[in-house]
């Protein structure tokens, strides 16, 4: 029998998240972010968080809500453009920021979940990203040593999931969610649709349930679009 991991909602899912912890938050821009848990955390009063997330939302949505409340002490991200409050807090020194190349961020999360303590990558060689890191040459090309990332809690968002924690993502809302699910000591998955055991075919599962400890069906998804771009009908 599959192990049932269903919880009642964001409150039960986020139980145990405390000030000062390190959290991984899935999503790329506003696409595939765990909106429900983020809203819950924004109202929780928890602070001093280190958040590992590719972006930091926008001023009034996603992780931008936690930034506005000064709940985040440090961000580990690859891209912070289009978020004025983030840029302001970073340039003024109120917020500690570790900017790392996007591919290295993804691989560091994957490595953290896969039991690989570190790896070499060419990304960032010769730039300030390489400062203080071991350099080694492979096939005549210099690489830098990047370490794995893990988190006290990883919070991910999926399209569908089942009580065993198996997840299916939709389109580009997948992004960082699968690697972060692997790298959380406790991984919380919020899904748009929680389906009964057996409803997902084993072949279609993107993230196997072993990586997920708590799962619930979220409600009231806004799914905001950051850059609405369309073409005219001819």
């Amino acid at each position: 029998m599959a192990i049932t991991k269903t919880v009642s909602g964001p409150e039960e899912a986020c139980k145990g998240i405390q000030s000062g912890m390190t959290l991984m938050i899935g999503g790329f821009g506003l696409c595939g972010i765990p909106e429900v848990c983020i809203s819950h955390l924004a109202a929780s009063g928890i602070n001093g968080l280190t958040c590992i997330s590719n972006n930091a939302g926008v001023d009034d949505f996603g992780l931008g809500l936690l930034l506005r409340n000064r709940q985040i002490k440090k961000m580990i991200s690859s891209y912070v453009g289009e978020n004025d409050e983030f840029e302001r807090q970073m340039l003024s020194g109120e917020l500690e920021v570790d900017l790392i190349p996007q591919g290295s961020l993804a691989e560091r999360c994957r490595a953290g979940g896969a039991g690989i303590p570190a790896f070499f990558t060419p990304a960032g060689y010769g730039t300030e990203v390489a400062e203080g890191k071991e350099i080694r040459v492979f096939d005549g090309k210099p690489h830098i040593l990047e370490s794995a990332l893990t988190a006290d809690f990883a919070i991910v968002k999926a399209w569908k999931g089942d009580p065993a924690g198996n997840l299916v993502f939709k389109a580009t809302a997948r992004n960082f969610n699968p690697m972060m699910a692997m790298a959380g000591k406790i991984t919380i998955a919020e899904v748009e649709e929680l389906v009964p055991p057996g409803a997902l075919h084993p072949d279609e599962i993107h993230t196997p349930g072993i990586f997920v400890q708590r799962i619930f069906q979220g409600t009231g998804y806004e799914k905001r679009i950051e850059q609405r771009t369309v073409r005219k009908r001819i």
């Binding site: 912070v80 900017l99 996007q102 009908r233």
Partner: protein, 218 residues
């Protein structure tokens, strides 16, 4: 006449070859997809996790779960595929993507590029650019030749924090197409109506000018 953004994109599109997987950066590079030469098949990769990117959706058909790396709503072409960020950068780092086109604030004659930070003023972050430039075999930079006050951005040595070193092969600006060989810029082509003298005057880095510099055919 200096090229506009579409002109730069049109010139870069001439570098596309049949069967290429191509990653297009934000800004001018995105426009390259509008000028694919007839008769060739290419697929566009976006590093947030899609291969086979199509045009922007018709109004009312936007899907918040389907965006490109610039966070713009997009569509997919038949045969498209979605994947996670680690797999996406495996494609990039593993050199499965044949061509990368990206923008820059500065490039220099060693092939160094800077495009992610102006200390104390602006920090956007490198996003996927450092991974892309460190691994791509073929990188074309799309940029303006000079900044707003007319200073060259085609330099002897970059002054801003670098995105990558020794990686840029080709640069297409509003004035010229340049190649970087052995630590020098070579003038390949000039934009229609732009003189060699103007390009020389607006290029700070070492520039090799052949006897005949053809005009771009757009």
């Amino acid at each position: 006449m200096a090229l506009d953004k579409n002109g730069i994109a049109k010139r870069i599109a001439q570098e596309l070859k049949h069967g290429y997987y191509v990653n297009l950066g934000i800004g001018i590079p995105t426009l390259v997809a509008n000028f694919i030469p007839p008769g060739i098949e290419v697929e566009f990769q976006s590093e947030n996790g899609v291969l086979g990117m199509g045009p922007f959706p018709y109004e009312g058909e936007e899907d918040p779960d389907l965006i490109n790396a610039g966070k713009q709503t997009i569509t997919t072409m038949p045969g498209a595929a979605f994947f996670d960020s680690a797999t996406s950068f495996a494609m990039i780092r593993g050199r499965h993507v044949q061509l990368t086109v990206l923008g820059a604030m500065e490039v220099d004659q060693n092939g160094d590029i800077a495009n992610w930070k102006i200390p104390g003023k602006m920090v956007k972050g490198m996003g996927g650019a450092m991974d892309l430039v460190a691994s791509a075999e073929n990188i074309i930079v799309a940029m303006l030749h000079t900044n707003k006050v007319g200073e060259s951005k085609i330099l002897r040595k970059c002054t801003l924090p670098l995105t990558g070193v020794g990686c840029v092969k080709k640069v297409v600006t509003d004035l010229a197409a340049l190649e970087i060989i052995d630590g020098r810029f070579y003038l390949l082509e000039r934009a229609p109506g732009v003189s060699v003298e103007e390009i020389v005057a607006k290029t700070e880095g070492d520039l090799v000018v052949p006897d005949v510099v053809p005009e771009m055919i757009l």
